[in-house]
């Protein structure tokens, strides 16, 4: 089921402290306080190209990381990321988004919906191997760090859709649990419990216990 694109979702007052107590690295984009983000969004909505560019700079890589973690192909991930921002540009320009401090939840809801659509489409077709991964396999010697990241990617792909979605929204997109709860329209407590269980499964699978896996339905 698609999460609605509207911003009138349940209010999310809880903050990050409700989560695992560990900070999330939003990397790739400097932290922007809400007031400044509001100004940037307002300017971008009124046609300010520099503000729009700033918005893209802030979120493009986070959206890309989320999409890539699910679709596993860099070229496809960029295509989907572009389409997400095209949708955002259209909705901002046509006044379908009113800034009420929920831009991130709204942006990633658009991204999650697009990823779900694309994953559904990919299931109906043969899954190609990421050319980047193929190139590494053929030309490079194994790098321990890369191998570790590769193993973690493989573990993530074995999680159920729901668990993987929460983990990637939390870590790849860098959202707070409150934002994820708003985005997925789920109770905060349920999300926290599910995230905790997902971490346990990952830990178990990394330790070599295949029983932790639930879903082989990736992407």
């Amino acid at each position: 089921m698609q999460a609605p694109d509207s911003v009138d979702a349940r209010s999310a007052e809880a903050d990050d402290s409700a989560g695992d107590g560990l900070s999330v690295d939003h990397g790739g984009s400097a932290e922007v306080v809400d007031a400044e983000l509001g100004r940037i969004i307002a300017a971008a909505t009124s046609g300010d190209q520099a503000a729009w560019r700033r918005l893209v700079d802030l979120y493009a890589r986070r959206v890309f990381a989320l999409v890539r973690s699910r679709l596993r192909r860099a070229d496809l991930a960029e295509e989907v990321t572009q389409s997400v921002f095209v949708t955002v540009a259209e909705k901002l320009g046509s006044g379908q988004y009113a800034e009420r401090g929920r831009f991130e939840a709204w942006l990633f809801r658009v991204a999650v919906n697009r990823v779900r659509d694309e994953a559904r489409r990919l299931r109906r077709h043969a899954e190609p191997t990421d050319p980047e991964v193929l190139g590494q396999t053929l030309t490079q010697r194994p790098d321990p760090e890369r191998a570790e990241l590769g193993a973690l990617r493989a573990v993530l792909s074995r999680l159920s859709d729901q668990d993987r979605e929460i983990v990637t929204l939390r870590h790849h997109a860098g959202l707070s649990f409150a934002q994820i709860a708003e985005l997925l329209d789920e109770p905060l407590g349920t999300l926290l419990a599910r995230h905790h269980r997902a971490l346990k499964k990952i830990k178990s699978m990394l330790a070599g216990d295949p029983a932790g896996a639930e879903g082989e339905d990736a992407p």
Partner: protein, 188 residues
């Protein structure tokens, strides 16, 4: 036999957040690698891809009248349309009654006024009294001027000014008929 002894290690102890910190650290490292691994220039390509949508959003798609109408509620639009229809019908009715109530036009007075009377309406047509077309009209103008001259002598400048103040009254030949006869003794 007790199947669940209270003492001894549990087979699958629930890991604490501290136990999972390592997993969280690895996930964050993976996420950072995915973000850093985004193709170079992805932001510029996104901006370029979204440019047509942003231009289209800024350009008004509908004419101003449509946008103004769109802001009016459906019920209000229905009421306005009904009011406009009623107004149009009433105007058409008044015009029709006016046309039907007119009688045949009466004969026009040469060089003077033609009056058509009939029903509720009266139409008065004037010829130009300043530019007479023939000797009869010229004589009439002369008589008016002579009357004014007499008035000037008898009643003084004030009376002539009073008469000249309203050109419409002066243009109206029927008013001339109402002027006092200069030959009549006013007793002043």
């Amino acid at each position: 036999m007790n199947m669940f002894p209270s003492n001894g290690p549990r087979p699958d102890p629930d890991p604490t957040p501290a136990d999972l910190a390592d997993v969280v650290g690895r996930l964050d490292a993976l996420a950072a690698a995915e973000r850093a691994g985004a193709p170079a220039g992805i932001e510029s390509r996104i901006v370029a891809a979204a440019a047509p949508s942003r231009r289209a959003a800024r350009r008004p798609e509908r004419p101003m009248a449509d946008r103004v109408l769109a802001t009016i509620g459906r019920d209000m639009r229905r009421r306005l349309a009904l009011a406009a229809g009623v107004l149009l019908a009433a105007t058409a009715g008044v015009v029709l009654v006016g046309v039907l109530s007119k009688g045949p036009a009466g004969p026009a007075t040469p060089g003077g006024a033609g009056t058509a009377t009939g029903g509720a309406s009266t139409i008065v047509a004037h010829s130009d009294p300043i530019t007479p077309a023939g000797p009869a009209e010229s004589a009439e103008v002369d008589s008016v001027l002579a009357t004014i001259a007499v008035l000037d002598d008898v009643g003084g400048r004030g009376m002539v000014d009073l008469l000249l103040r309203d050109t419409e009254r002066l243009d109206d030949p029927t008013r001339i008929d109402m002027l006092p006869d200069p030959t009549e003794n006013t007793g002043s």
